[in-house]
């Protein structure tokens, strides 16, 4: 057809739509660039939309993809449960759907490319405990209340930290995945808990804010563990201010999702799940994550 669309990455006749939960967060920006690189490499046309963390807007976008006759859809769900109707709608139009980063509950997708947030939370707990010498007080900086990322990471961390009786979580407060709020909330918590030696932040942005608040204590007296492995986060690991970050390799995630989507669009069979491993980046291994 002769649409006036101007998709990014390639001009092949395979059109793929991708709805990203949010582009407000460097993590998902990287997910997108991985996807775009792969699309370019494979010569397919890719349309990326930003759901701005709004599940219903995401449903709208997937519906719009079906009107546009996309050959495959990649959805990075805002919420695993809420994505189901969108996936069903695509299914009715016989468009294969790949879930990236988070799974979809209550509907069948062709493939889930995910890194396990709960698992990542556990790894974060283990790494933090290790660096704290398995004792001391910890505060948790939570993401936006009610989001699945916050829920799963928090849950994993809580489960993981139970294994260390010497470690006590003295406070858990929301900082909305935001660097400024991470700074403010950490400053406030330091007033009531000046003796903490560990911080778990449910994403790198908040961790970086917390490091600002901790000043010289960050990396020495207080160990901060973040989540996501964003460029700024990895850099902080390198500098030694961030003790560790749970890196999810968003670029790999994006690449994998597009590769699978193209296969599905061509009618090739693909695996039910692909797990992109979560890795803990510490000062020792951070160089592996560069790029």
């Amino acid at each position: 057809d002769t649409t006036g669309t101007s998709p990014t990455g390639g001009s092949g006749d395979i059109k793929i739509g991708m709805s990203v939960s949010t582009l407000n967060n460097p993590y998902f920006v990287q997910l997108r660039s991985g996807a775009e690189e792969e699309a370019k490499k494979l010569g397919v046309s890719l349309t990326v939309t930003d759901a701005q963390n709004d599940a219903s807007q995401q449903v709208n976008q997937v519906q719009n993809f079906t009107s546009q006759n996309m050959k495959a859809i990649v959805i990075n769900p805002v919420d695993s449960d809420a994505a189901a109707p969108a996936v069903k709608a695509a299914e009715r139009s016989n468009i294969p759907v790949i879930a990236a980063d988070r799974g979809v509950n209550g509907a069948q997708v062709k493939q889930t490319v995910a890194s396990d947030n709960v698992q990542g939370g556990k790894l974060a707990a283990q790494e933090l405990a290790k660096q704290m010498g398995e004792k001391g007080k910890v505060v948790v900086l939570q993401g936006v209340a009610g989001t699945s990322a916050s829920r799963d990471r928090g849950q994993g961390f809580t489960e993981g930290i139970k294994a260390y009786p010497g470690i006590q979580v003295v406070a858990a407060q929301p900082a909305d995945f935001d660097r400024t709020k991470g700074l403010d909330v950490m400053s406030n918590l330091l007033q009531s808990h000046p003796d903490i030696t560990g911080v778990f932040a449910e994403n790198d942005e908040m961790a970086l804010g917390a490091i600002k608040a901790l000043g010289a204590k960050a990396g020495s007296a207080v160990k901060v563990v973040g989540f996501d492995g964003t460029p700024d986060g990895l850099k902080a690991v390198q500098d030694g201010t961030l003790a560790a970050t749970v890196a999810q390799q968003p670029k790999v995630l994006g690449q994998q999702a597009i590769a699978s989507a193209v296969k599905a669009a061509k009618g090739e069979s693909i695996q039910q799940t692909v797990a992109v491993p979560v890795k803990v980046a510490t000062k020792d291994n951070v160089s592996e994550f560069a790029g």
Partner: protein
């Protein structure tokens, strides 16, 4: 031009903007004018439109309701919690969910009418309170909607989406209330000149209760439609929708200083926002540029209207 058409166009200048926008999009994208896409737009406008109908009442009285998004979420969570978690029959749960919306509205109105709080503050407080309660009730996790209610998100005959029907019905209700009922006429008088309304025997405080209760009730309906579409009630649903709802009302020709506004205008305003978002997706505008384009088009849409009005004078 018949006088009816004239009135329609002069009082709903936004309609002109909507038509221009639709024509432009159908030229730019061959996908836009398909029936299925237009129905899509309708579905996507539904939640904002229903919230905006409720906000229209409030804005006509020169008030503002920032809490509509949160109240929508709280109502949906209430419904899902009561029926799915507590096992109440869904019709009862639905009635209670609607009542929750109305009660939130009444609480807003009580603070405004009797506590003399500025509507901005009272409803900003409710924005936080209702959202917080939604999180508390749901423990931060989505709750599945009962299947019976989830059908509200479906289509009739695989074609006509029920959210569109609900939107149209709520719009008609809003129009009838505004044009034909005592509370509706009182809203215009209160927004136009509260003191004159009071001295004419209108019980201003009581009418404000009605106004905000309606807004809360409409928000509850919007919340249920939203949750039904997703088959799941989300504690974070409709966050930030208050600005969209108010924008729809103002694009539709109402004034935040009160006394003006129509249900039809609001409907057009909500459609403009939905068409715009749909169009940007169809045209694959990059995510970073989308916000810029939305901003520019909203400004242009209202500008068309004011310029047209000025030149016709």
């Amino acid at each position: 031009m018949s006088s009816r058409t004239k009135v329609l166009l002069s009082e709903n200048g936004a309609l002109v903007a909507l038509v221009v926008l639709a024509v432009a999009l159908s030229l730019l994208s061959s996908d836009f004018l398909s029936v299925s896409n237009l129905l899509n737009v309708g579905v996507q406008a539904a939640v904002t439109a229903i919230l905006a109908f409720g906000a229209t009442f409030v804005i006509i009285t020169a008030g503002i309701d920032l809490s509509v998004g949160s109240v929508a979420a709280l109502s949906a969570i209430t419904l899902a919690y009561l029926s799915t978690t507590s096992g109440l029959p869904w019709p009862l749960a639905t009635v209670i969910a609607l009542a929750v919306g109305v009660v939130c509205g009444l609480a807003n109105a009580a603070l405004i009418a009797y506590g003399k709080l500025p509507p901005f503050i009272a409803t900003l407080a409710m924005l936080g309170i209702a959202r917080g309660l939604a999180l508390v009730v749901s423990q931060g996790s989505p709750i599945a909607m009962p299947d019976a209610v989830s059908h509200v998100g479906d289509t009739i005959g695989g074609y006509l989406p029920i959210p569109v029907i609900v939107m149209v019905v709520m719009g008609l209700i809003a129009a009838v209330i505004l044009n034909r009922t005592y509370p509706g006429r009182a809203m215009y008088a209160i927004g136009g000149n509260e003191e004159a309304a009071r001295l004419s025997g209108i019980k201003v405080n009581r009418q404000k209760l009605v106004t905000y209760a309606l807004s809360g009730g409409f928000a509850a309906v919007a919340g249920i439609v939203l949750a039904s579409r997703l088959a799941s009630a989300q504690p974070q649903a409709a966050a930030g929708y208050e600005l969209d709802a108010i924008a729809a009302v103002v694009i539709g020709g109402a004034s935040l200083s009160g006394g003006k506004g129509r249900a039809f205008g609001t409907f057009v305003g909500a459609l403009i926002l939905a068409v715009l978002r749909n169009g940007l997706n169809l045209l694959s505008v990059s995510a970073f540029w989308q916000q810029v384009v939305i901003g520019v088009v909203i400004a242009l849409a209202v500008l068309v209207d004011t310029l047209r009005r000025r030149s016709s004078n």
